[in-house]
């Protein structure tokens, strides 16, 4: 399979690899996928006010899955929660020039973003109640 230069760049130099403290009140964690499907993404955001100040990921998956989650963390940093919710898988497909068989990687990245935000919001709800 031929990869786009952008996929190769993210694969060779993944951005924001690592983990944030999942117990922290200001951190939202999303884990999506399953090992038997060949993809698991863990994406975490750190939020101050309503702005994402940091994002980290770890991904088990093909090069396109790694690139999709790496790109997602890049895009998340500096965005507000509402802006982050607007990120669509199709934008990831376009940016990384993913072929049709790899579209599921971008879908997973979008799911990971939404899942991390949901986790963060849940923590805030629990804190208020």
């Amino acid at each position: 399979m031929a990869y786009s230069n952008k996929v190769l760049d993210h694969y060779n130099n993944p951005r924001n690899v690592g983990s944030l403290d999942k117990g922290s009140q200001s951190v939202g964690t999303g884990i999506v996928g399953a090992p038997e499907c060949g993809d698991v993404m863990k994406l975490q955001i750190q939020v101050e006010g309503d702005r994402i100040v940091d994002a980290k990921f770890k991904t088990f998956g093909c090069g396109s899955a790694i690139a999709s989650s790496s790109l997602a963390t890049e895009w998340l940093k500096g965005k507000t929660i509402d802006e982050a919710m607007q990120i669509k898988n199709t934008q990831i497909v376009e940016e990384l020039a993913l072929p049709p068989v790899k579209i599921h990687c971008s879908v997973l990245a979008e799911d990971a973003i939404k899942s991390a935000i949901a986790d963060y919001k849940k923590k805030q709800g629990e804190a208020q109640s």
Partner: protein, 406 residues
Amino acid sequence: MKLPIYLDYQATTPVDPRVLDAMIPYFTEHFGNAASRSHPFGWEAEAAIEKAREQIAALIGASSKEIVITSGSTEAINLALKGAAEMYAEKGKHVITSQAEHKAVLDTCKHLEKLGCEVTYLQPDKTGRVSVEAVAAALRPDTILVALMWANNEVGTLNPVREIGELCHSKGVLFFSDATQAVGKVPVDVEADHVDLLCVSAHKLYGPKGVGALYVRRKGPRVRLVAQMDGGGHERGMRSGTLNVTGIVGLGKACELARLEMAEEAKRTAALRDRLEQRITSALDFVHLNGNREHRLPNCLNLSFAFVEGESLIMGISKIAVSSGSACTSASLEPSHVLRAMAVGDDLAHSSIRFGIGRFTTEADVDFAAEQVITAVKRLRELSPLYEMAQEGIDIKTVNWQAANH
């Protein structure tokens, strides 16, 4: 060192220069049609083919009259299975095979089912082996054919061919073995091993692509097949079509070299295979051998690297040419059917790599490959949420991924 390093000898092999030398005169100087009986051009081609037939037969303990030339293993498999099913339809319609066979066998069996045959797909054990007991238990009065591979193309596991052959002969059932990966790598003797039909492919043993052969037993029992290709009645009516003289000469020469050099080569490649495995496993944890440590090809090593996905690993080791059982390397998005049949677990199937070692592999190649793999696996595990969980002591098999997703 010339990069990338080729470690995919189960996929194909380069033509041995000695094979190429043998072939070249038959492109230009001796270009005759082997079926031309009226002039020396035809006689020369026919003589070359007869010599090649002898060379092929000698490697597998057959007689040259039992060799039917084909375009390769896939065609030989189609001819053997469809040809036997059609010829012996009166006797029965039951065929036994295994889930770990090559697609050429499995898809041909699917076709037979459409034509009214019943096929039993035996599940191999965790090492990819089908036991003679499993075959015995599946035999029925109407079983006409058992089709089981000699050596598995993905994991290199050898089936107990001789025991299965003896069983089949004692029950009067035909035995076909896809020996594509075995011929030239391990000893094959159709008499001692009680095989009735067996296929060979030239490009897996340093011959050219596009040529192969089907061994068809002539006595004890005499096997008859219905031709699947009609025409001029070549190959004793079993496979019409003008013979690929250059390719057949190449197959013959490749078989001769294999017969003379196999024992030495097997020893050498097995040592390289073990060196590769030892280097990798001494530097990395969570590495699983897929296959059978005792009964296996000397030149195949299939490893799963837990918590790392196969395609991303292949990207990380782009200086070596290998294959993966991962879904992502095929169009189907399904992991290897062989590893699935072996119940390896889909997560490990996704992280499998097949290293194929061959005639032109050196110790330096293997050491370089081991380095590349170790570096890439370590890097990808740094990226892997599953490796992180494993280090935290979480068993990923116990995680409810559905729940974790929400």
